[in-house]
Amino acid sequence: MIHSLFLINASGDIFLEKHWKSVVSRSVCDYFFEAQERASEPENVPPVIPTPHHYLISVLRHRIYFVAVIQSEVPPLFVIEFLHRVVDTFQDYFGVCTEAAIKDNVVVVYELLEEMLDNGFPLATESNILKELIKPPTILRTMVNTITGSTNVGEQLPTGQLSVVPWRRTGVKYTNNEAYFDVVEEIDVIIDKSGSTITAEIQGVIDACVKLTGMPDLTLSFMNPRLLDDVSFHPCVRFKRWEAERILSFIPPDGNFRLLSYHVSSQNLVAIPVYVKHNITFREGSSQGRFDLTLGPKQTMGKVVESVLVSSQLPRGVLNANLNPSQGTYTFDPVTKLLSWDVGKINPQKLPSLKGTMSLQAGASKPDENPTFNIQFKIQQMAISGLKVNRLDMYGEKYKPFKGIKYMTKAGKFQVRT
C-alpha cells in the first residue's frame, strides 16, 4: 500500500523520508512541488497527485506536508486517514508536531513509523499499544536512559495486543482511581444577513480519561440517548448493547481516549447561543465605510459565554480600520485584511460592541464583497444539544472510583454572513 513517506516543510525541504518497500527516489516529490506552486494557498494543493509511476497522497498539518507515495490502487481515504493518524501520534508523543520536534526525535519517529506500518500496511495504530512498544520521550526518561543505559524500547510485547481487549494493558494499578468524561459539543452554524439560521448542526464527542485499576467494566447511560443521531464508537464499546439498550458498556483503555463521537442533525432544532447585530456600509464616492458590530447572548440557560473571538476577512479595498471596542481588544492587519476582535466574556447587561470607520483606497469604487464573521466561543457546564449523562456504573472491580463529568459547548464553524 504505502511505499514511502516524505515530510516536507513550508519552505519545500524534504526533512524526513521513510521507505517501507523498495526505496523511492525523493525526486518523486518534484511533482508535488509543481502542484504546490500552482496552488494559490497551501491548503489548495490537491490531496492526490498522479505522477507517471506513482501517486502522491498528501495531507497538510502544522504547516508540514505529509506525502505518501502509493504505487497502485488503494482507497485514498485510507491513506489520508492513516497520515492523520501518524500526525496525531506524533503530537501525542512529542506534544507538538513541528519540524523541530520531529528532527529532535528522529529515532523515535523512525521506530514509530516502523511499528505503525508493516510492509506498507497499517499495523499498530492504537496509541496505548504504541506507547507500550515505544515509550514516549520525556526529559526524565532521557536523563534516566543516559545514566542507566536503559532504552526507550519496550521489552515486552504489549500485553493487550494479543488478548481479547487489545486496547487495554493488563496489570494497571492506580492509587487514586478516577474516571473523567468530557462531553464536548461543537456547533456549526451559518447565519445569513437577516439573522436567520441557514444551517445548524452539532458535532459532539465524549473524551474520557480513565485511570482505574485492574479490568473495570463500565456502563454509561444517558438521560436522552435518542438525541444521538450518528454515532461512532471507540472499538471498546459493546455495540450490541448500545443497539438494544442504548447504554454504553465497555472495558476502557487505560488513559485518554475518545469514547464516542456523535452528530445531532439539523432536523432537531438547534438553539443558537449567540446573536450578532452588524451594520457594515460603504458609501459610494467617499473613502469611508461604517462598521458596527454588536454581540449578544441568546438561549444560554444562564451560562456565561466566554472566550469569544470574532474574526473577519475584510474586503481588499479596505486600507485601514479605526474601531472602538466596548470591551476586549481588536487587531487589523492591513496586509492580509484580517480583522480579529478578542471579546472575552459576554456580559448580558452590557453587550460588547465594536464600532468605528474603515478607510478605503481614495477614488476606488466601493467593494462589492461582503465580509463574513467567524465567531468562536465557549460555554462551560452546558451541552447545547441537551445531552445529559444519567449514570456511570462500574463492575468487575471492588473499589469505588471517583467519577467526573464535564460539559462544554464550543463554536465550531460559526459563520455570520453580512
Binding site: S40, H84, E111, T142, V153, S265, K413
Partner: protein, 1040 residues
C-alpha cells in the same frame, strides 16, 4: 589531529551539499575543534546530545551549526549535534561512526546507530557502513538491535550478500523470547527473501505480521496454504492482515473464502479499522461473484441486505464506522447494489434506513472533518453519487452549503454537489445561496458559481430567465473575471432561445469595448455572428471595431473575428464586404498558421470566384446552420464506472492495480459452499431459526442413535474380522460365547467395581500365538496390590475383557507389535511390545505398553526387569514388575505405563536379565498417544468449530483401491490411531474423536470421501505437532 588532516580530502570527496561544505570550512577554521585523539572524538560526539537533552532546549540541536554563541558551543556542535542537528556533516564522520560501532560500549553503539538512523531519515546514503552495522546485530542491547534492524530493512536489499551473513544471528534472534524483536527479524528476512522461516514464524506465533509478497512462484503454493490456514483462524487480530495477504498473493482463489465468508462477516465489526477496509473490499468482490444481482427483484434485495447469512457484513459496518474510508467503501457497494428506485420497493423503509445511515456518515465527514483532505475525497464521491441518485441526498442539501473558510477546492466540489442536487423545488433556495457566493472574495470560486448557475439554468427550464437576468446583472460587475465568466455562460444559455434575447445580445455587444478577457470576447463575437439577424445594425459596427484591433487580439478572438466576418458577409454582404476582405487579408499574414489556414479556407468558401467549386453555394448553409445548444454536464458524469472510494475514481483514470468489479453472475453459484459445520459462528439471532433448530433436534438425535447402532455393529464385525486374522474361526466364536456367560455370572459380584471402572477398555488381541491373547488389568488383582500387571493365560481376564468389549465401542483392529529386542541380539530372549490401547489404571496419563517376552534360548531367564530409565523432561514411566523366572521356550507378558507427554519422544531404558543388560527404546506412533473419546455428532461439530485455523490441518488424498468403502476407512483409521468413531449422518464422511493421553486435548479426525476415491482428511487438534503427525500417519494408512 588525524581527523583534521583528513578533513580537506574528505571535504573534496564526499561533501555534496553546499551547506555541508560551509560547515566543513567553518570547522576547519575553528581552532577549538581539534580533538587530540580518536577517543576524544567520540567523547565529544556523545556529549552534546546528552547535554541537549538535559537542557531540553530543542532549538539548539535543530538548527545546526550556525548559532550565535558559536564559540561556546563549538565543541558541542562539532561533535555532531546529536540525532537532530548537523547531519549534513556526517559524511565526514563515517570513520568515527565505525569506531563507535566497533567499541564495546553499548551506549556508544546506540549513539552511533541513532545518528545513522538520522542519516537515513534525511535521505543520506549510509550504505558504506553496512559491514560495521551488521556486526552489531548480535548486540545485547535491545534498542541497538532494533535500530540495526531498521538499518537492515533499509539497506539489505541493496547489499544482499552481506546481509545474508547476518541470517544466522537472526535465527538465533528468533529464539529470543522477545516477540517484537523476532517480528523485526521477520521483516528483515523477508527483505532478504528468506521466506520459509518467515512464514513459519508467523505460523507459530500467530501474530499479525504480514509478509513481503514479491516472491518466487514456487513458494506461492506454500504461502497459499499458510493463508488458507490463517483465514480459518477466528481471532480478529489476524483477520485484517490475512485478508491483505490473500489479496496480494492469490486474489483469484476465491474458493478459499467460501468457508470463511460468514465468519469474516461476523468478525468484521471487531477488526481494527484498517483491516475492515481490506476485508470489505474483498467481500465486495466476493459478493459480486457469488450472489445474484439483487436489483433484479425487490424481494431479493431485501434478502440480500437482510439475510443474516450472506450479507451480514452489510450491517455491522454501516452501523459502526471506525473510519471514514469504511463508510465510503461500503457505500460504493450498497450503491451499486440498490440501484433500483428505492422509493418504489415495498420494503423501502428498511433499505432506506440503511442508506440513510451511510449518508449521514458521509455528510458528517463532509462538514465535521476539520481535515480538508478528507472532505475533498468524500465530496468527490458524493458528487458522483448525486448525479444518479439525487433523491438520496436532497434532504441534506444544506449540509453542502459553503463556508467562507473552506479551501477553494472544497468550495468548488460543494458547488458541484449543490448543482447536481438542484431541481424545481429547491432551485430558489439554491439560487439564493449562489447569490451570496457571487459576492465572495475568492474569485475562482465566483467564476465556478457562475458556471454552476448556468448549469442550473440549462437543467431547469423554469428558472432560465431568472438566471439569465441575474447573469446579465453580473455583466456590470466591476470584476472583469466575473463578467467574462458570465458572458461565457450567457452565451451558452442564449443558444437555447436566442429570439427572445436580442436586447441581451445588444448589451453584450457594448461590452466588447471593455472586456479584455479573450474567452469572453470570443464568446460575444460568436454570439453576434450567430444571431446577426437579430442585431442587423450593431453587428457590422462590431466587426468594424474588431477589424481595427485585429492585430492585437488573442488567437481565439481572431478566429472568432474571421468567423463573424464570414457570417456577416453571407447575410449582409453590402455593408461588410470590404471589412471582410480587410480582415481576411490581415489574417492571411498572421503569425499563427491556424489563423492563416482558416482565412484561406473561408475566403475560398464565401467569396465566389470562377474557380470556387460547388461548395460556395452551400456556404450559407454551412455557416448559418442551426447549432444544437450545448449541454452543460457535470464533470463527474462518467465516473461512476469506477468503484466509488477508489483512487481510480478520484483521478478518473485507471490506476495501476485497479480491479474492475466483476459483474453479477448469471446464475447463483452453489450457496452451500459457505456452509460451515459449526453453528456457533453463524449466530442465529432470529427466533425462527432457533425454533427450526429445536425442531430438527429429534431428527439429529435419532440419526445419532441409528448411526451409533450401526457403528457398534460395524465395530463388532470388525473385531471379528480382526481376530479372524489372528486365530481360528471356531476359537474366536467360542471365546466370545464363553466370555458372555462368564461376564453374566460375574456381573453381580463385581457390580460395584464395574461402576467404578466403567472406562475399562477392551481387550486387545495380540497377533502372536493364540495362547497369549488377552491381557487386561484385573481389577481385583489391582486392588490387592499391583501385582497383576503380569498376566498369563488366566481365563478370568478373558472374561473380564470380553465384557468390557461389549460395553464400549472398541476401536477395533489388529494391534501392531514392534520389536524391542531381537532374538539374536537378546541372546535368545526376544521382546516385542505393542500398545494395548487400554487405559493404564495406575496412572491415567500414561499409555499402556504391553511387552511380550519370549525365551527362545535353552536356559531359563531370571529376574527380567527395567533399569536406568532415561527420559526427556516431563516424561514418566511406570515400570513393569519384575518377572522372576521365564523358563526356556516360555512366553510372558507384562504391561508398563509410559507418560509420553503427548510427544513422540522415545523412552530409553535398559532391559536387564540376571546376566545381561540391553539398551532398548520405545517410540510411540502418534496414533497411540490418544485414547478414544465418545461424542455425538453435534458435540463433534461444536468442538471442531473451536479448533479451526492453526489447529486444523487438511489434506487431499486419493484413497487406495482397497479402502474405498466406509468400512475399510474406519478400520484403517482406527488402526492408525486410537480413536473412536463418531456417529455421522452422512455416509460420505467418517468422523473420529479422541483425546490425547496426557493433556486430554481433543483430537478430531474427519475423512470426507468424494468421487473416484478422492477424499479429504481433516484433523483438528489443539496440539499442532500431534495433528501434523497424525495426518501423515493416517494419510499413509489410507493411501497404501
Amino acid at each position: 589531529m588525524q581527523r583534521l588532516l583528513q578533513l580537506p580530502v574528505n571535504a573534496v570527496n564526499m561533501v555534496k551539499t553546499v551547506q555541508s561544505q560551509v560547515q566543513g570550512q567553518e570547522e576547519a577554521k575553528s581552532p577549538v575543534l581539534t580533538p587530540d585523539s580518536a577517543q576524544q572524538t567520540w567523547y565529544n560526539a556523545l556529549q552534546p546530545d546528552e547535554l541537549r537533552h538535559l537542557r531540553s532546549s530543542p532549538g539548539t540541536g535543530g538548527s545546526g551549526g550556525g548559532g550565535g554563541d558559536q564559540e561556546e558551543r563549538a565543541t558541542l556542535e562539532e561533535g555532531g549535534g546529536g540525532g537532530g542537528g548537523s547531519f549534513q556533516t556526517q559524511p565526514l564522520r563515517h570513520d568515527d561512526l565505525k569506531e563507535m560501532l566497533d567499541s564495546n560500549k553499548d551506549s556508544l553503539k546506540l549513539e552511533a546507530m541513532k545518528r545513522i538512523v538520522a542519516m537515513i531519515a534525511r535521505g543520506k546514503n549510509a550504505s558504506d557502513l553496512f559491514p560495521a552495522v551488521v556486526k552489531n546485530v548480535a548486540c545485547k542491547n535491545i534498542e541497538v538491535k532494533k535500530l540495526v534492524y531498521v538499518y537492515l530493512v533499509r539497506y539489505a536489499e541493496e547489499q544482499q550478500d552481506l546481509a545474508l551473513l547476518s541470517i544466522s544471528t537472526f535465527q538465533r534472534g528468533l529464539k529470543v523470547q522477545l516477540i517484537s524483536i523476532s517480528a523485526f527479524f521477520v521483516k528483515v528476512s523477508t527483505v532478504l527473501k528468506v521466506k520459509k522461516q518467515s512464514y513459519r514464524f508467523i505460523f507459530s506465533h500467530n501474530k499479525t505480521s504480514s509478509f513481503d509478497f514479491s516472491l518466487d512462484p514456487e513458494q506461492k503454493d506454500q504461502l497459499i496454504e499458510v493463508i488458507e490456514k490463517l483465514l480459518a483462524d477466528k481471532t480478529t487480530l489476524v483477520a485484517g492482515s490475512v485478508v491483505m495477504a490473500f489479496e496480494e498473493v492469490c486474489p483469484e482463489r476465491i474458493d478459499l473464502i467460501h468457508k470463511n465468508y460468514r465468519k469474516l462477516c461476523n468478525l468484521l465489526i471487531d477488526v481494527e479499522e484498517w483491516g475492515q477496509v481490506v476485508i470489505i473490499n474483498m467481500l465486495t468482490r466476493y459478493a459480486r461473484t457469488q450472489f445474484l444481482n439483487p436489483n433484479i427483484n425487490v424481494s431479493r434485495v431485501q434478502n440480500w441486505v437482510y439475510s443474516e447469512t450472506d450479507s451480514s457484513f452489510l450491517f455491522p459496518c454501516m452501523r459502526l464506522f471506525k473510519s471514514h474510508s469504511i463508510a465510503l467503501w461500503f457505500l460504493s457497494e450498497l450503491f451499486r447494489a440498490v440501484s433500483l428506485p428505492i422509493e418504489q420497493s415495498h420494503d423501502a423503509a428498511l433499505i432506506y434506513t440503511a442508506i440513510r445511515k451511510i449518508l449521514i456518515c458521509c455528510l458528517t465527514h463532509v462538514h465535521v472533518s476539520c481535515f480538508s483532505e478528507v472532505q475533498y475525497v468524500v465530496l468527490q464521491n458524493v458528487a458522483t453519487m448525486t448525479i444518479k441518485r439525487r433523491g438520496m441526498f436532497e434532504p441534506y442539501l444544506k449540509s453542502f452549503y459553503i463556508r467562507s473558510t473552506d479551501p477553494t477546492q472544497i468550495k468548488i466540489l460543494k458547488l458541484e454537489v449543490l448543482t447536481n442536487l438542484a431541481n424545481e423545488t429547491n432551485i430558489s433556495t439554491i439560487l439564493r445561496e449562489f447569490q451570496t457566493y457571487i459576492k465572495s472574495m475568492d474569485k475562482d470560486f465566483v467564476a465556478a458559481t457562475i458556471q454552476a448557475i448556468g448549469r442550473c439554468a440549462t437543467n431547469i427550464g423554469e428558472v432560465r430567465d431568472t438566471c439569465l437576468n441575474g447573469l446579465v446583472q453580473l455583466l456590470s460587475n466591476r470584476d472583469e473575471l466575473v463578467v467574462a465568466e458570465s458572458v461565457v455562460v450567457i452565451k451558452k444559455l442564449l443558444q437555447m432561445q436566442p429570439e427572445k434575447h436580442s436586447d441581451i445580445i445588444k448589451h453584450m455587444a457594448k461590452l466588447t469595448d471593455n472586456i479584455q478577457v479573450p474567452m469572453a470576447r470570443a464568446s460575444i463575437l460568436w454570439l453576434i455572428g450567430e444571431y446577426c439577424e437579430h442585431v442587423p445594425k450593431i453587428a457590422p459596427d462590431v466587426l468594424r471595431k474588431m477589424a481595427k484591433s485585429f492585430t492585437n487580439e488573442e488567437d481565439i478572438v481572431k478566429l472568432q473575428i474571421i468567423n463573424l466576418a464570414a457570417k456577416l458577409y453571407l447575410t449582409n454582404s453590402k455593408q461588410t464586404k470590404l471589412l471582410t476582405q480587410y480582415v481576411l487579408n490581415l489574417a492571411k499574414y498572421d503569425q499563427n498558421y491556424d489563423i492563416r489556414d482558416r482565412a484561406r479556407f473561408i475566403r475560398q468558401l464565401i467569396v465566389p470566384t470562377e474557380k470556387s467549386g460547388a461548395l460556395s453555394k452551400y456556404a450559407k448553409k454551412l455557416f448559418l446552420a442551426l447549432k444544437p445548444a450545448p449541454v452543460l454536464e457535470s464533470p463527474f458524469k462518467d465516473r461512476d464506472h469506477f468503484q466509488l472510494g477508489s483512487l481510480s475514481h478520484l483521478l478518473n483514470a485507471k490506476a495501476g492495480g485497479y480491479q474492475e468489479l466483476p459483474d453479477w453472475p448469471e446464475a447463483a453459484p452453489d450457496p452451500s459452499v459457505r456452509n460451515v459445520e459449526v453453528p456457533e459462528w453463524t449466530k442465529c439471532s432470529s427466533r425462527e431459526k432457533r425454533k427450526e433448530k429445536k425442531v430438527e433436534k429429534p431428527f439429529y438425535s435419532d440419526s445419532e442413535g441409528e448411526s451409533g447402532a450401526t457403528e457398534s455393529a460395524d465395530s463388532e464385525s470388525d473385531s471379528a474380522s480382526g481376530s479372524e486374522s489372528g486365530s481360528e474361526d471356531s476359537r474366536s466364536g467360542s471365546e466370545s460365547d464363553e466370555s458372555k456367560e462368564a461376564s453374566e455370572s460375574e456381573e453381580e459380584e463385581e457390580e460395584d467395581l464395574k461402576t467404578r471402572k466403567k472406562k475399562e477398555k477392551p481387550l486387545k488381541k495380540p497377533v502372536q500365538e493364540s495362547e497369549r491373547y488377552i491381557v487386561l488389568i484385573n481389577s481385583s488383582q489391582q486392588r490387592e496390590g499391583e501385582a497383576g500387571f503380569l498376566c498369563t493365560n488366566d481365563p478370568q481376564f478373558r472374561m473380564n475383557s470380553c465384557r468390557s468389549a461389549e460395553t464400549t465401542i472398541a476401536p477395533s483392529s489388529a494391534l501392531k507389535s514392534y520389536e524391542l529386542l531381537h532374538r539374536i541380539t537378546g541372546e535368545g530372549l526376544s521382546v516385542e511390545y505393542c500398545f494395548s490401547r487400554q487405559p493404564f489404571i495406575p496412572d491415567a496419563n500414561m499409555v499402556a505398553v504391553q511387552v511380550h517376552f519370549t525365551n527362545n534360548s535353552t536356559s531359563d531367564t531370571k529376574s527380567l526387569h527395567m533399569e536406568d530409565v532415561k527420559l526427556q523432561s516431563g516424561m514418566r514411566v511406570k515400570e513393569f514388575p519384575e518377572i522372576e523366572l521365564l523358563p526356556a521356550g516360555e512366553t510372558a507378558t507384562a504391561v508398563m505405563g509410559i507418560d509420553f507427554c503427548d510427544s513422540t519422544q522415545t523412552a530409553n531404558f535398559q532391559l536387564c536379565t540376571h546376566t545381561r543388560k540391553f539398551f532398548v527404546s520405545i517410540q510411540p506412533p502418534v496414533g497411540e498417544l490418544m485414547r478414544p473419546f465418545f461424542m455425538t455428532e453435534n458435540e463433534f461439530k461444536k468442538e471442531q468449530g473451536q479448533l479451526m485455523g492453526m489447529n486444523e490441518i487438511t489434506e487431499k488424498l486419493t484413497l487406495d483401491v482397497k479402502c474405498r468403502n466406509e468400512h475399510a476407512i474406519v478400520q484403517k483409521v482406527t488402526t492408525a490411531a486410537n480413536l473412536s468413531r463418531v456417529p455421522c449422518g452422512s455416509d460420505k464422511e467418517c468422523r473420529f474423536a479422541g483425546r490425547t493421553v496426557t493433556s486430554s486435548s481433543l483430537v478430531l479426525v474427519t475423512v470426507a470421501t468424494k468421487d473416484q476415491g478422492a477424499a479429504q482428511l481433516t484433523v483438528n487438534c489443539e496440539k499442532m505437532v500431534i495433528g501434523t503427525m497424525l495426518v501423515k500417519d493416517i494419510l499413509l494408512a489410507l493411501t497404501q
